[in-house]
Symmetry: none
Subunit: 221 residues, 4 copies
DNA sequence: TATGAATGAGACTTCATTCAT
DNA sequence: GATGAATGAAGTCTCATTCAT
């Protein structure tokens, strides 16, 4: 029945979903839905909880194997992030519901933060720190605040775009995957800019980039 | 009146918005709303169109000044992307509405693609190409497919997280901004990895990174 | 279980009572209620019957002891009528249910007439006749049609007011009791008005009082 | 529309009344009822208020004409109380609704007290006091606490019985009217019991009647 | 006996939409 | 242009009743 409800909410959003349709999808009478869940809102919460529970349950058994080189761990992380996973559609729908109904159901945002965001950031950070300690990554860069989020963003955004634009018009997974891998390989490699030849305006770049300007603005999300 | 409608749709979504409330927000009678827009759906389309029009109109006067160094252009682009802009809340709401109602109103996705996505990618790509041509960026890397999207994703994702998690719990703009700036500075600087010491696993990294594995999956969006 | 049902009907009336609530009050499952009573209506009838049965059963062992002076019998009758009796709340609830549902369940009215009204009138009438025969009461007055009802009304009405207005705002039992006792003492005492001084307007009073006018009307129940 | 609602509530009680039926009785669409009254409860309150308003408004222009003998005033009061008045059915229904729903809507009881009970008692008390001052009534008796209520109760109870038992089985108005008139004529006439011949056990009667006993009780309302 | 899941008609209520003014 | 009374389809929710266990 929760599956039926999930499909209905996924298809029409919270306000657009009909309890009758939920019952029909589940093949039961309207009243039975109310026998188990006292209201539409309660049903929605139950559905969301059931969807997020497994994500909660899934442990952090990742990214803690000290013997693997950090470059391999990073590679695996990207593979994972860009992978076309089973159940991914469900997660995208979940994401959409959280975006759409997060204001009406604040616990959704909290759940997302706990179950997804914090966890993903923690994993990425662990990989970066691992590389920094083993000398595989430039320590200052890898452990910089915000680097884990920057690492994760492209793969997630790829999914968001895929959801918004449709499979056909979204950027390819492989393309972004390769581009980000190449970018990270060059950027994280130790030795830094002063070890290299040119580096002419390197300092200049880094200096003012860290100071987010607040000029008149325009484009964006 | 479109403003009133936008607020109502923003606050409750398409299905949850009430025509009466729109009229009240606008300070007019219900009938007058129908005098201008024949139906709720038409009103919604009009609101969305009105919101996206300025984004359309805003020209591409950026990123085409050939005399500016690419590093400066990139810096400006990041400044812009991470800036806390006036009207940003409105754009976030727009983003949310597009995510939430994109299925019901396919033109919303199309609009988003035309007005925002394509344009942003084009600008990022122009900056990268500019740097590649001037020798400021590693040409192979900067012109790699998907690099523009990787460049844009963190700033956009930062806004998405901010919208989903709230101002307090989202990653800081400044942190991600600085991290990404540092990352790009090291990665894009010409000279490449072969110029440096042990390029041992560089090829390996890039090689398999480009081939997105489909192993057991876990986290993600 | 009938107790539980009585409480539920008392609390919410017939239409407002829920079978589920009855079952819960009784501490049994809903199905069991239906095992004993085929429908809500049947349950209600059973409850009412069970409530009225003891009132039926309670004998007329009163008011028939010829050796007691009528004044004492009358006194006892008033004491009884104005007494704050155990189980009185239940009877008030019963009264309320009969008033409220008497139209839907005509047998309720019939029961009330048989079990309560007729019986009470008979008792009052017996006391009055007893006094008339013994010469304690003015015979013409005591045996007048309607006198028994007039005798009973104040005590009953006192309870009705108590039920409608609440304990705090209703007229006091003691006050009405004393007033009615004093009234009856003076009125019923034999000797009559012609024995006294100016019986000028006595006949006049009684004459037109027996002819209920139908003038413009105002207050009442 | 309030008329239609009154009829529906009168016919089925609060819980049994259907908004659809109200609309049909009024000859309008269901939605229009909600256009004026936000809920069933609000409609019920409005109906009750509208019914009680005129009773409120009706002034106390009665019982204050000092030139009329108190016996005539009393006679008029009884005529009025026992009269078969136009609109009486409506008042009986109102009475029934107040009894039935007084628990759910405490303001009903309050209204009844203000609009009906207090007023009626005040009028009766004024008549009694008038008679006492003019010497037409025995002052001690007429001004005794609770006498006004005892005076009013029979006529009201007559209506209550009529409502509960139906026109055919209830005691006749004329009979109770005449009996009460005769009773009052004898009781209230000044001169008192000590002025008369016998009066043997008069003192005894009054003494213990004023002390309501609390013995085991049985019958009543 | 005893349970409570299951049913579905029907209740209250909402709200997009119409239309006479 | 502007209003808001009026409509009625449709949604959420209730609850008497049934029935397999």
């Amino acid at each position: 029945m929760l599956d039926a409800a999930f499909e209905e909410f996924a298809a029409h959003g919270y306000a657009g979903a009909k309890m009758t349709a939920v019952a029909q999808r589940a093949g039961v009478a309207k009243g039975l839905v109310y026998h188990y869940y006292p209201s539409k809102e309660a049903l929605f919460r139950a559905v969301m909880q059931a969807c997020l529970e497994p994500v909660f349950a899934e442990a952090e058994r990742e990214a803690t194997d000290e013997d693997v080189p950090a470059t391999v761990m990073l590679e695996r992380l990207l593979d994972l992030a860009y992978a076309e996973r089973e159940g991914q559609e469900r997660q995208c729908i979940l994401f959409r519901l959280i975006v759409a109904e997060g204001q009406r159901f604040p616990e959704l945002s909290a759940w997302y933060e706990e179950a997804v965001f914090r966890r993903a950031v923690a994993i990425a950070r662990a990989v970066l720190r691992h590389g920094a300690r083993r000398g595989e990554f430039d320590a200052a860069l890898a452990e910089q605040e915000g680097m884990a989020e920057v690492l994760l963003a492209p793969a997630i955004m790829n999914e968001v775009w895929r959801m918004m634009l449709g499979e056909g018009r979204a950027p390819s997974r492989a393309g972004m995957h390769a581009a980000q891998a190449a970018l990270l390989a060059r950027a994280l490699a130790p030795g830094g800019m002063d070890a290299r030849g040119g580096g002419r305006d390197a300092g200049g770049k880094e200096g003012n980039a860290a100071c987010p300007a607040t000029r008149r603005a325009t484009s964006a999300p």
